[in-house]
Symmetry: C3
Subunit: 155 residues, 3 copies
């Protein structure tokens, strides 16, 4: 093993306007409480026996593995949403699966899709689901907006 396996996780989300798409994304990270960290995007598993915790104030500049969905748009009036869902198996010795989805559309539409995705992923694994937890953020674009939802892994 090259990098320590996470033992804790928490959900975050945020939406923002910004000067350019990356600024809007940065603003969404700030609202989510992770804007002063170094996010490493990864695919998308919560290790077995990992514990959910309340969002932490992470040290500035820390490298943080995250599974996230994001979307930016420069179409004024457009509604965009980003969501993540984690499906936890009945067998607690098995990993939970994270799915990410972001699209034009309402919170309800995008959250429904990401939950269906998490269910489909567990079905593919032949695992029975104990519970699904999801977070979704919806943002209505003024001139340049972003939506961001994530599962942050931590130790």
């Amino acid at each position: 093993m090259m990098i320590k396996t996470p033992t804790k996780f928490f959900f975050v989300k945020g939406g923002s306007e910004g000067y350019m798409p990356l600024n809007a994304f940065d603003g969404a990270l700030m609202k989510a409480g992770v804007g002063n960290t170094n996010l490493l995007k990864m695919s998308s598993i919560i290790p077995p026996h990992c514990q959910e915790i309340e969002p932490l104030p992470l040290p500035q500049g820390t490298l943080v593995p995250v599974a996230y969905a994001s979307i930016t748009s420069q179409n004024p009036g457009e509604v965009i949403s980003a969501a993540v869902a984690a499906a936890f198996p009945e067998n607690r010795d098995h990993a939970a699966l994270i799915m990410e989805y972001a699209a034009k559309g309402s919170k309800e539409e995008v959250e429904t899709t990401v939950i269906n995705m998490a269910e489909a992923g567990m079905k593919m694994r032949g695992k029975r689901i104990k519970s699904i937890k999801s977070v979704t953020v919806e943002h209505k674009v003024e001139h340049c907006g972003a939506a961001f939802a994530a599962v942050v892994l931590w130790d």
Copy 2:
């Protein structure tokens, strides 16, 4: 150095259908044997003296650096392929170069391209090639499919 440098590597590949593109990608990861890990995508070097091993059952939820190619498609009937090639230098004290390529097209077409890419990359380095190893997967899309090929780095 912030993260331990890998000492081992192995090749994997997989193709799959899925409910949404990310599910198809997830299915391809499952077929490749890395679907329950946290992949960190990186650019694309095998360190000197790194040893090829048989694919390992990686611990669930582990963070795993990988160089990968992937493609998803929602066009029924379309043939998609993903490939990686590693070019090993004659001088074993020099790193090997990984190239990734994924596109519409057959296994043969995509594998030829990725091998040419690996050769071009070593030529740019002025390094003579001892050998090239590549893996390619082809997938014919039913409704929503993915192809994935990777070099997994490990320690």
Copy 3:
């Protein structure tokens, strides 16, 4: 904390032609001096009290966290540029913010934009800026080109 927080950083940049877009990107990495490493793309903070150093010859195959902008183009004659800017706060106990931007256009245009982005990001944080440092590379495409600019984090 799962991965050691960086204590050093440096700026790099490069532009190149190549056989395929990934080869051009690889060539740009080579010109930037990081072509034989494994880059992990991250969002985009320089931790407080991190020290700028001269670019180092990094060990081959090392995993290296970087914030980068890149662009590739296969349109002969097109001018492409990639830039990063780091905005350092007056309060040295606060992190510096990195912004990345790559687009068609001249060095001047792209550098102006990325500096504006860094200023906007610090304004969003309510932080007064002590200084901004940026690097930009411009590349005129012959047949297949890439531009790459980055802040490399190191320890």
